[in-house]
């Protein structure tokens, strides 16, 4: 990671980010812009750009003034690599999808939210017509339009439109910052539901990044009585222990079977854990996850790393494990997230390491890329400089 050379910016842009804190170099201010957006122009190149304020596509849509946006590994990945699997950035795309905001306009038929409501924003709009949608698994919709998954623009803009049922009102006691954490929390809720965690069960979570930490928190809220966090980073593990984990284990260089045996022994997991969640995507963790389970246990793959790995299929079969994937979130997950935070059963404030101004968005991306902190939030576009 050498010095990053900032490419020259065209005159159409009114802001010239140089070094933080960013300063305006022209008379024009942010107030003259309609909808300042943070755009991935192409792999490795981000820029600020003014775009038209989006129009409501239907009478059931609302317009949200975005207030906070968290950054996800996927945002960083598109920035650095320009693609995830078959989703390829072919044209400039606004980044960001973990947002909260305030509703500024509503379509004629909107009845569940109103102007002024503070909302968590669910950034993936399904078609509502395919079999997956009608079967209650809209996260698997073939025509899903997901913010900041090419070619759909993301939420790092002043405004964003959404259908009303993808906006979740935040009670007064929940801040907009916490509202931006609803997205990763919903991911954690979905994973925990896939894992079908029951009260009294033991869970091993590989990876103590935001998703792993939130899985620990949700598992705790769902009554798991042993929650083991595993990571290579001791600092993250110490945080996990103070946050939601009952036990922590530092990964070492050893075989997956040995690693699993050590986790079982050190954490008193008896015949093995009931549930293993991989929130790392790392091959050794996936393997250890299979070995750490008791017979009949459940394994959920949430993390994304190498697409193809060496998998202990013999152990999976012989132990009759339930092995499932988990992808984003579907019906009820966002509402559950808001409820968990409102009732205090899950706390997300601790995960917010830093907040930066909209114009410092690129700094935030660099921090996430360098694995600094846990969750960095980018504030919404200010009305004046």
């Amino acid at each position: 990671m050498g010095q990053e050379v900032r490419p020259p910016l065209p005159d159409c842009l009114l802001i010239y980010p140089t070094t933080p804190p960013y300063a305006l170099e022209r008379d024009e201010t942010l107030t003259t812009m309609q909808n300042l957006s943070f755009v991935l122009e192409k792999t490795g190149v981000v820029k600020f750009e003014d775009r038209p304020v989006p129009k409501l596509a239907s009478d059931y849509d609302v317009l949200v003034n975005v207030k906070f946006t968290g950054i996800c590994g996927s945002d960083v990945h598109y920035w650095q690599h320009g693609a995830i699997g078959s989703f390829i950035v072919k044209a400039p795309m606004v980044l960001g999808h973990e947002s909260s905001g305030i509703i500024t306009a509503v379509g004629d038929k909107v009845s569940t939210v109103k102007v002024g409501d503070r909302v968590a924003m669910e950034p993936g709009i399904p078609c509502r017509r395919c079999i997956r949608c009608k079967d209650g698994k809209y996260n698997l919709c073939v025509d899903m339009r997901f913010a900041a998954t090419p070619p759909i623009d993301g939420t790092l803009a002043k405004y964003y439109t959404l259908p009303e049922d993808f906006c979740y009102k935040l009670p007064e006691s929940v801040s907009l910052e916490e509202g931006a954490l609803m997205e990763p929390l919903a991911v954690g809720v979905h994973i925990t539901r896939q894992a079908n965690i029951q009260p009294g069960q033991s869970v091993v979570v590989f990876g103590s990044g935001p998703v792993g930490l939130l899985c620990c928190a949700v598992a705790k809220a769902y009554g798991a009585n042993k929650i083991v966090a595993v990571d290579i980073n001791k600092e993250r593990l110490d945080f996990a222990k103070s946050y939601a984990a009952t036990d922590i284990v530092v990964s070492q260089r050893e075989s997956a079977a040995d690693s699993a045996a050590r986790i079982i022994k050190d954490c008193d997991l008896g015949h093995g854990a009931d549930v293993a969640i991989d929130a790392s995507g790392a091959e050794p963790c996936i393997q250890a996850g299979i070995h750490v389970l008791r017979t009949g246990g459940t394994y959920v793959q949430a993390g994304m790393g190498k697409s193809d790995i060496t998998f202990p299929i013999g152990a999976m079969g012989a132990k009759e494990l339930n092995v499932k994937g988990s992808f984003r979130y579907s019906s009820g997950d966002y509402r559950t997230s808001v409820d968990l935070v409102t009732s205090g059963r899950v706390s997300v404030k601790e995960l917010i390491s830093n907040k930066v101004k909209f114009l410092d968005a690129e700094t935030a991306f660099n921090d996430v890329k360098a694995a600094k902190g846990i969750k960095v939030l980018i504030e919404g576009v200010e009305d004046s400089a």
Binding site: R128, R129, C133, K134, G136, D165, S330
Partner: protein, 368 residues
């Protein structure tokens, strides 16, 4: 794209104007509401007990007839117009029509239970118009192409088959289970046939009309049962227990069938159904009769029964129903006993209302 129609084209409709007051009306040809809609030229429509009930009583539960509605909801037809975003059907395609389109936005819709959506537009459930018109407009994903070898009458019978598919889905029927079905009307016999097609080891049909039992025997049931009448002065609950015991004994059901599908709504059947289900088994209420009955709740509790309701259909039921008919696993043609032309719709309704034993499924042809 629209199939060429006469400029003078109209939309003759069979309308329920008020309780017991039906008439033919010429209505406007319906327009597509959005780019996902299709317009279907209705070919055949079956009559359901609910249609007759609205005609005679004007309400079912909270659905009350306050203004005229077109009747009918069990239909098939040919697509004559498609919206610009329609991908699953083309003009000229023959389809079975699923008559209830939900809102797609509420929590029920989003969680896969669209049959529970409060804002469903359901044909011939007040205040929505039904399918007994020349044309019917519906969202394209609620129409299902039928293969060439299936005729339009079979296409119309897909609806009750879909109801039976949903009932078995709710029952969570697994292969090799035993099933008792109370009622050998159209829904009862279709449940029996679906249960067999889905691998039930033994299906027993129960009814009080011998001719219906005879038909059920020849259709999907492995065995049939005619319960004895109660002796005078016997407590109905005791009689229900007796019937349950007789059923178990006569058909070697051991502690009882795994699954009971109640397709009559009749109180004595509901009671017998609860008594006959084995411990830990599943009882599904599909039939609609008296709204409040005397229910053996302690038996249900002690025997840890799973008791569920079933209403209409959910995702996958229509495609499964089309497949069951198209593959020949269920011969729905055998259910049709009477056929009427569109102009004879009122006679058709009168016939169903009369409830004669030899009348089973009545269909009305569409406007030509």
């Amino acid at each position: 794209m629209i199939m060429k129609t006469d400029e003078q084209d109209s939309n003759p409709s069979f309308v329920l104007r008020a309780i017991k007051d039906v008439a033919f009306e010429d209505r406007d040809v319906p327009k597509l509401r959005d780019e996902h809609d299709v317009r279907v030229h209705i070919a055949q429509t079956g009559i359901c007990g609910s249609d007759v009930h609205y005609w005679q009583r004007g309400r079912i539960g909270d659905f009350i007839l306050n203004s005229p509605i077109v009747l009918g909801h069990e239909s098939s037809g040919t697509v004559v117009e498609v919206g610009s975003a329609v991908k699953n059907v083309k003009v000229g395609q023959r389809v079975a029509v699923e008559p209830g389109v939900p809102c797609r936005f509420c929590d029920y819709c989003r969680s896969g239970q669209y049959n529970l959506c409060n804002d469903t537009i359901f044909a011939a459930t007040p205040p929505w118009d039904g399918t007994l018109s020349k044309y019917y407009v519906v969202a394209s994903d609620y129409t299902y192409p039928i293969p060439d070898h299936m005729n339009m009458e079979e296409g119309a019978l897909v609806e009750p088959v879909a109801v039976a598919v949903q009932i078995t889905k709710v029952a969570d029927l697994r292969a090799n289970q035993t099933v008792v079905v109370f009622g050998c009307g159209p829904i009862g016999v279709l449940c029996q046939a679906v249960a067999k097609a889905y691998g039930a080891s033994r299906v027993i049909g129960v009814d009080v009309v011998q001719s219906r039992l005879d038909f059920a025997s020849s259709f999907g049931a492995d065995d049939v049962f005619l319960p004895p009448k109660p002796e005078s002065g016997v407590d109905p609950i005791e009689h229900a227990e007796t019937v349950a015991a007789l059923l178990k004994e006569k058909f070697n059901l051991g502690e009882g069938p795994d699954i009971v599908l109640e397709c009559t709504g009749a109180e004595p059947c509901i009671q017998a159904g609860v008594f006959v289900t084995k411990k830990g088994g599943t009882y599904v209420q599909a039939g609609m009769g008296k709204e409040v009955v005397a229910f053996p709740i302690t038996t249900a509790c002690i025997r840890a029964l799973n008791i569920k309701g079933s209403i209409r259909y959910t995702t996958g039921c229509y495609p499964a129903a089309v497949d069951l008919v198209a593959s020949g696993k269920i011969d729905v043609k055998r259910l049709i006993t009477n056929r009427f032309k569109f102009e004879e719709a009122e006679q058709a309704f009168e016939l169903v209302k009369a409830g004669k034993q030899d009348v089973f499924k009545v269909v009305i042809e569409g406007v030509q």
